[in-house]
């Protein structure tokens, strides 16, 4: 399993854009939930959509699949006009909602059969049989969907929204509240789909998931504040990070916080990350502790998470 954001060769058929929207804006009353968002995702790529809670991820995704009218902006999904051809977009898009939205009073099989019929797929029974088999849910097909655990619900939802062979998948925090193993399996599945040519836009809060995406879009308060590959985003941020480890690192955090030149201090496991934009200021803030034999202070490459914490902090300020 590669943790690297390397786009696999041959994943870009035709080089067309699966999503190409400009100036997408949505207001709820006075509040601007999404403000002039441009997103262009080439076919066959997996893009991560990141941002703190309430930043406008769900709202953006809903506008992309025609569930919300954009107050401003235009563009296409799968070549169809966002405003005029919502029905065509719906037919070829799979959308997995943030909250489980299949029918809990229907069984797993009934849910899948319903979806298959709505899309007018042929050989419904066989198709559902195959899907259940692939999911490993054949034995539990007559269980009510509401009785499934979180991880199984996600798997069923993914299976259901890919049943009709969509060209575009919009996944809204699909792995929230799912255990690590299920999360890993889920992402393997997403990559398999992408290898098959499907374009995926997936919102997430997990950095390891973000790093498995071809590109990342970071949205904050309805505005896109960063985009690109992980390396590009880290580079563009200009953030310099030092790590501190050893006994007493914990106490150090409080002392460093708020000092000149230090943007933020945060723990990554036992490791303390100290980040800022000015190397000289950072060095001088850390200088008094260099002599402490129990602490090891080293400069490191800023991680995606450092950058995101910084972006989030800037937006909040």
């Amino acid at each position: 399993m590669s943790g690297q954001p390397v786009a696999k060769p041959g994943r870009k058929p035709g080089g067309g854009m699966a999503i190409d929207v400009k100036g997408l804006t949505k207001r709820f009353g006075k509040k601007v939930a999404v403000n002039a968002v441009d997103i262009a995702v080439p076919e066959g790529q997996v893009w991560g959509f990141l941002g703190p809670n309430g930043s406008g991820k769900t709202t953006t995704i809903r506008m992309l699949c025609g569930l919300l009218h954009a107050d401003a902006g235009e563009g296409t999904c799968l070549g169809y006009d966002l405003r005029k051809e919502a029905d065509a977009i719906k037919r070829e898009t799979g959308y997995m909602t943030q909250k489980f939205s299949f029918w809990e009073d229907l069984t797993i099989r009934e849910n899948l059969e319903f979806v298959a019929r709505v899309y007018g797929l042929s050989g419904v029974r066989r198709l559902v049989d195959e899907t259940l088999e692939k999911l490993g849910l054949t034995a539990r097909q007559n269980q009510l969907a509401g009785e499934l655990s979180g991880g199984w619900k996600q798997r069923m939802a993914l299976a259901a929204c890919t049943l009709h062979g969509p060209k575009l998948l919009l996944l809204d925090e699909p792995t929230a509240g799912v255990d690590p193993k299920a999360r890993r399996d889920f992402w393997d599945e997403i990559h398999k789909l992408a290898d098959g040519g499907i374009t995926v836009l997936v919102s997430t809060h997990y950095m390891d998931e973000a790093e498995r995406c071809d590109k990342i879009v970071f949205i904050s308060s309805g505005v896109i504040v960063a985009r690109g590959t992980v390396a590009e985003i880290v580079k563009a941020s200009g953030l310099i990070t030092y790590t501190v480890e050893g006994e007493g690192a914990r106490q150090l955090a409080d002392r460093l916080r708020g000092q000149r030149g230090i943007e933020f201090v945060s723990f990554f496991g036992a490791l303390l990350h100290v980040s800022g934009y000015d190397r000289a200021l950072l060095e001088s803030a850390l200088a008094p502790y260099r002599s402490d034999g129990k602490l090891i202070i080293t400069e490191t490459v800023s991680s995606l998470e450092d950058v995101f914490i910084q972006l989030q902090q800037q937006a909040g300020a």
């Binding site: 809903r62 699949c65 025609g66 569930l67 919300l68 009218h69 919502a86 029905d87 719906k90 037919r91 898009t93 959308y95 909602t97 909250k99 489980f100 939205s101 299949f102 029918w103 809990e104 009073d105 229907l106 009934e110 059969e113 319903f114 979806v115 019929r117 709505v118 899309y119 007018g120």
Partner: protein, 377 residues
């Protein structure tokens, strides 16, 4: 652009029928409500009220008034004390609801009977509750006549066979148009259907919205018309079942006559039920939560009960109320049902009430489909 596809309607229907079958509470309500209402109402209508307290005003001192008074006392309809009242006192008792009838045998009654002058017994009935008073009133006439049959013998026999020797004049106070039991059971059919059908569909979309499944439904290529058909159709069957249940009880338990064609009634009922489901569905496109849907349901139910001719005689209502009543499907349905059941009406007679229901159905359906928002805004 095609507005619907058979395969999607089929998908919706499958889903809705399964969900309805699993929702035991609602299903129980849909069958329980008609049974309960029929039982309660039916019990009330089945009972012929007896021992109604009555006040006498007897100013005649002849023999015939005694015969009539004892005949009334012997019948179980009237409870008559031995006191007689003055007219104002009797009126007061009536107003205070202490008695249901005031029976006045005027001065010279006996004398006038003998003379053949055809005197009158005046009965004032509290007709606020016509069902309660009508039996007693009906009984009164016969009672009085047979009471005097024994007295009118010999030289007076000539008075008996011809025109009655006297008249019973009934003044129905407070409510001039007396509804009877046959009015009530067909009316109940309309009321129960209105209540349950609108209620059942008014939460249909609201529930999907509250559970978050609406977003999924909208993200799929389902169209408003298909969703509506899916939501409404299963309830048509429930409505048909309810109607059959009510009519069965009406026929075999309350012995309501059924003179007209059952097929015609079924057609009218189907149109009526579908129109109601259209209303319920429209509510569910507007209501943001189930509580609101219930409130709107009652907002529709109230005029249906009050202005349709079920609770009050239609012709007794002010013009504006009649106008509202005419707009409600139940008003027309009640006329159709009473017409078919009691008068044996056919297609020609009921047509004037069929088309308003069809029109209503069409308008409700159009409003529902156009009100339906295909987005989450």
């Amino acid at each position: 652009m095609k507005n619907f596809a058979v395969h999607r309607i089929y998908a919706m229907l499958g889903k809705e029928f399964i969900q309805m079958r699993r929702d035991r509470t609602t299903l129980a309500m849909l069958i329980g409500i008609p049974l309960m209402q029929l039982f309660l109402f039916g019990y009330a209508i089945n009972m012929v009220p007896r021992h109604l307290p009555s006040a006498l005003i007897v100013t005649d001192s002849g023999p015939f008034s005694d015969s009539i008074v004892s005949a009334l006392a012997n019948s179980s309809y009237f409870d008559i004390g031995h006191t007689t009242y003055s007219r104002p006192a009797a009126r007061r008792l009536l107003a205070q609801n202490r008695v249901a009838f005031v029976i006045e045998i005027p001065a010279n009654f006996s004398h006038d009977v003998v003379r053949g002058a055809g005197p009158s017994i005046l009965v004032e009935a509290d007709a606020t509750d016509p069902a309660a008073s009508s039996y007693a009133v009906a009984a009164l006439n016969g009672l009085a006549t047979s009471a005097l049959r024994d007295d009118l013998k010999g030289p007076l026999a000539a008075r008996a066979p011809q025109a009655p020797a006297f008249n019973v004049i009934v003044h129905s106070l407070y409510n001039p148009e007396a509804n009877t039991q046959y009015n009530v059971v067909p009316g109940l059919l309309g009321i129960i259907l209105t209540m349950t059908m609108v209620m059942a569909t008014s939460i249909s979309l609201t529930r999907e919205r509250e559970r978050g499944t609406f977003e999924n439904l909208l993200a799929m290529p389902t169209r408003p018309f298909e969703i509506m058909v899916g939501k409404i159709t299963p309830n048509i069957f429930v409505g048909a079942f309810q109607a059959a249940l009510i009519l069965g009880v009406a026929k075999w338990i309350f012995h309501v006559p059924m003179l007209g064609s059952f097929g015609l009634l079924a057609i009218a009922a189907t149109i009526f039920i579908t129109a109601l489901l259209g209303v319920g569905y429209t509510i569910s496109t507007v209501a943001t939560n189930q509580m609101q849907a219930m409130q709107m349901t009652f907002f529709f139910l109230m005029p249906s009960i009050l202005l349709s001719g079920f609770a009050f005689p239609f012709r007794g209502m002010p013009f504006w109320a009649q106008w509202i009543g005419e707009a409600l499907p139940i008003t027309h349905f009640l006329r159709i049902v009473r017409g078919i059941l009691l008068k044996g009406n056919g297609w020609i007679e009921i047509w004037p009430d069929i088309w308003p229901m069809v029109l209503f159905l069409f308008v409700a359906g159009t409003v529902a489909v156009t009100r339906f928002r295909q987005t989450l805004d």
